[in-house]
Amino acid sequence: MIRFSHVSFRGRRSDTGLHNISLRIPRGELALFVGPPGAGKSLILKLCTGEIGPDEGRVFVDGIDTTQMGERRFRRLRLLMGIVSNQLPLLEDRTVLDNVVLSLDVRGWPPGRAVRSAMKALQESGILALRGYYPTELSDGQRRLARVARAIAPMPRLLFVDESSADDNAPGDFLLLIVRTMTAWGATVLIARQRVPDSAVEGARVWHMAEGQIVRAEVIPERAKSTPSSGLMELLLGRGNPP
């Protein structure tokens, strides 16, 4: 689904950038990029979403070489993606529901279906009651959930979550929601974080990064398969403790 082939990117600052990155993320996988600030986690996500282009190497998304694509073709590719990032905030002149509907509007969904799907996404995010509020009236955590709802509402095949600057002590339901989304329709999810979360990432592939390079890759082993999602559901319902 996503492949980097000897990708290098030199930023304007000398202390950031990517150096000769090669990786492959299969369809339906949860990939975590972790590392300290400036390690290049967000750059990987930005290269995937086409926000920046590599100086060297090639980036393949869904089998397509994005380095050869123009803006118009990339726009079509973006319709397959959901992006959660602090740099893509909610529009403050719209309510939470309108913000979520917007991501369906751009895909040309009929208005009725768009509203129904947006409501469903908000319900899954646990903020359906806040649908009539404006983003300025929400807390940071609620805004994050609204951004996730906006990203997952169109059921994208690729989900990019840039949590590099997020608080690591934030509630775990945010990550759980993404994992649940991924398992629901087999989307590929890429998450950039400063450290590996404590819970709910069994089976995820983790890429440890430092100074623009991948220093280590590992797969978090899955636990017993007897009740695969019961732990998550317990957590979602607020009855369980994180493992």
Partner: protein, 299 residues
Amino acid sequence: MRGSRQWLRAISEAYRLGTQDPGRHLLTILIIAFAYIGVLLFVVLWHNMTMQMDGMIDSLSLKVVVRRGMAGIVALGESLRRLPGVREATFVLRNEDLAGLGGVHGGDDGSVFHVAPLEYFSVKTHAIHPESLAAVASRAHSLRGVEDVLFPERLAAETTNLVWWMRMGWASIGTLVFLLVFLVLCLRTRIEVLEQRQTIQVMRALGASSFFMIAPGVMLGGIRGFLASVAACLGGHAAMAGVASRIGDCVFLSRQQMFLCMLFGTIICSAIPLVAWWRVSRERSPVPRQLRALHTWKR
């Protein structure tokens, strides 16, 4: 089906944007209307002033006095009309003109003239400088049957000087007005860019098409421009009515010209969101260029 849905969505979005902050939109309409009134008044006053100046220059005619008892007046008239720079030559025979030509007077009390009335041609030229008027006069003087050529040399010089200064003055005012309007439009565009930057970048990241991003803004801009143009035309008409009541005959825009002005204002104001979208769409990074520059400078 999908196309009409996109148009409907653009209209509803434009309505949403327009009703979101009516006070701000009203202020924008007023600013554009005032700028437009400035331009319209300048253009109309320039037109009226040019007409007045043409009338002043037009009154500077040569008097080509014909030798008394001369035969072949018609042929002389033809020769005068063929001279380069001559626009019109009219044969005049009037008693009252005697007073202005060489101090010969009489006839006020109904008495018989002491001398026969002068016969002369009133020659109007294309000349707008005293030198060119003098050149036409010397050419007319060389024609057979012409006794004298009279023209108000001093008045011509003063008139042409006055006209030149008036034109310079109006050109300066016009430049200032146009610069001011250009500045207003640039500032409005800049505000539009800053307002729409985040929206456009978020929409672009979500995969929105260009039409999706710019159509509501262009529609709203067009409506604002149309309302501002109507206000400017009505305001300009009222202002010109005030001017006309003071200086007499004054021409404002015809109905057709007003329609063209409204169309022009609508098009210009619709173009502002297009410029904003074009500028934002050239930015690859969501971080505004100014912030990036600041960041580099700090380092």
